[in-house]
Amino acid sequence: MNWFVWRQHRKQFLMLGILLAIFAALIVPTGNHFWHTYQQALTTCRQNPATPSCSNLPDNLFQTHTDQILFNLVPVAILFLPAILGMFWGAPLLSKEYTEGTNSLAWTQSVSRRKWLTAKLIWILAATVVVVGAFAALNTWWAKTPNALLYNRFNYLFFASQGIVPVAYGLFAVAFGILFGAWFRKIMVAVGVTLGLFIVMVMIVVPNFVRPHYMTPITISAPLGPAFRDNIPGRAWVLTRDIKDKNGRVIGDIFPAAPHECQQIIQQNQINTGGGIQVKATPSGADPIDDCLNKAGFHQVATYQPSYRYWDFQRIEVGIYLGLTALAVGAAYWLVLKRDA
């Protein structure tokens, strides 16, 4: 059975190997280049803190067109790699056999359907781990520069394209591709449903509605004022930032909610610049608007996931997708063994 699975899929293995080599040829030199440039800039800024670009490195480094394309394209490619494997590897695995009738050839050799399916699954899922793992490892190494610059690995695209979650997405997409292939028995339907599920789960539902709740977020509360920003640790994933009144209600628009005397202070101190509203600078640095609103009981509340939870989040997400993968594999066994050819 092993020889046969290898014979059926060796072209795909070869193609993925070539793709991986091309990717590595792109990633290794550019990754080194970015890292060295970044380190050089850091050294310069340490020796010469007055250099203008040092006040804001992220906006001054790697601004060429090519660099920007690379910064965006590489993580997107890693994000979609699992979907591509699910569509072009998982989905046709069984549906192609069904549509061409070759399942009835394979299932009437002297190998039980269970062994036949087990061999296919082991090969394809193991290859998925190796391929996605290699791509993700390269990207994780490459991304150390953007990670350091942008300072937030919880960023949606960063989280999904680094560490161990891409491998779990790969298993998930391929296993459901296989399941849909066995279920619908039509290649195009299986491909479409696999892509749809991937977009819905990996790109919409989990990052927006599930991931923020893996662990109870930390809540901080502080008076209004510029210091609030410093109370949220760097690299944290900020989930909410709200202004609340003394009763704890979230305030959307502060002006109508503020007491009369604060409204007056706001009107006195605001200048309409045409482009937007600014607060007049005061000589002492204190902000009379903030003072008035703080006295009236308004305060700021933020919830966030601190950066040290990054690997916990990766592990929890991997666990979820491995569970879903197991479900899909179980269902695929059931369909192949119990349903008629």
Binding site: W3, R7, Q8, T108, V111, S112, L337, D340
Partner: protein, 291 residues
């Protein structure tokens, strides 16, 4: 000889509310070459799939080489099966298929199949998708034979072949049977296809009632009755009218008579041939459809 290779009892297969095969009772002696004959849609493919374990029965049971059909290596290794579409892996060549057979079967006669395809001038290195229909059928048959099965089930193997390829295919089959130890069941909607090579006939026809039986009991159970028109309703229990032809004064009925039932008196009896019986069942299906 004398042993039974296939025995079914009340075997049936239902898809949703539709019975693709119903009450099938056949027995195939070991070493015979049986023709499974019946019109399209009578359930021939369904029956063969049930026998090889590709689908599971909804009713009744069957014993194939003494075992219930199952997805087990010991069962599968004794059976060769060739589906109607003659499925092969199009992008793989014949040599790959031979290797596949070697890897997926315990006793696979590699020498035999290589010699055979060489004799038939079938190129081993060309993807089978680029071979002719006749060559593909030969590759598929050779694969099934190289398994050294005790039972070979062929689903309309010659339907898609031109007369020459058909002749070659049946010759190959006859040759394999002559080597001994092989029971063959093959289906066709044309009895003439298989008459030359078969020594045993199983008839399938589906109408309101289904026929799935060996030819001898079928011929024995069916009679053509001719009698006055008025008597058509009073035939008694155990007699099923399959088809009725009305003329001005008399009715001609094709009836199925259960074992042990006395024939109604007052009718002229004739022995119908197998084609008349099959046509009667097909006519019944058509009338059923119009109602």
């Amino acid at each position: 000889m004398g042993q039974t290779a296939i025995q079914t009892k009340g075997l049936g297969k239902r898809y949703g509310s539709f019975w693709a095969l119903e009450n099938c009772n056949i027995s195939v002696p070991e070493g015979s070459v049986s023709a499974l004959v019946g019109p399209n849609g009578a359930g021939k493919s369904t029956l063969l799939k049930l026998l090889v374990g590709l689908s599971t029965a909804s009713a009744g049971n069957s014993a194939v080489l003494g075992k219930m059909p199952q997805q087990h290596e010991d069962f599968l290794s004794d059976i060769g099966y060739l589906a109607q579409e003659i499925p092969l892996y199009k992008s793989l060549n014949a040599a790959d298929h031979i290797k596949m057979g070697k890897h997926l079967n315990k006793r696979f006669d590699e020498e035999f199949i290589k010699d055979r395809l060489k004799d038939l001038d079938i190129p081993l290195g060309r993807p089978v998708g680029k071979l002719s229909g006749g060559q593909r059928a030969q590759v598929a048959l050779a694969l099934a034979l190289a398994k050294k099965p005790k039972l070979l089930l062929l689903d309309e193997p010659v339907a898609a072949l031109d007369p020459l390829a058909r002749h070659d295919f049946l010759s190959s089959l006859t040759q394999a049977v002559a080597e001994g130890g092989l029971t063959v069941v093959m289906s066709s909607h044309l009895l003439a296809d298989l008459e030359r090579v078969s020594d045993h006939v199983i008839v399938l026809a589906a109408g309101k009632t289904q026929l799935c039986d060996n030819i001898e009991p079928v011929l024995h159970e069916h009679k053509l009755l001719v009698g006055p028109r008025a008597d058509a309703k009073n035939l008694g229990d155990g007699v099923t009218v399959i088809h009725e032809t009305q003329a001005a004064r008399q009715s001609t009925l094709l009836v199925r008579i259960e074992k042990g039932t006395k024939l109604p008196s007052g009718w002229q009896q004739h022995e119908p041939n197998i084609e008349e019986i099959i046509l009667a069942y097909m006519g019944q299906a058509k009338e059923g459809g119009e109602k």
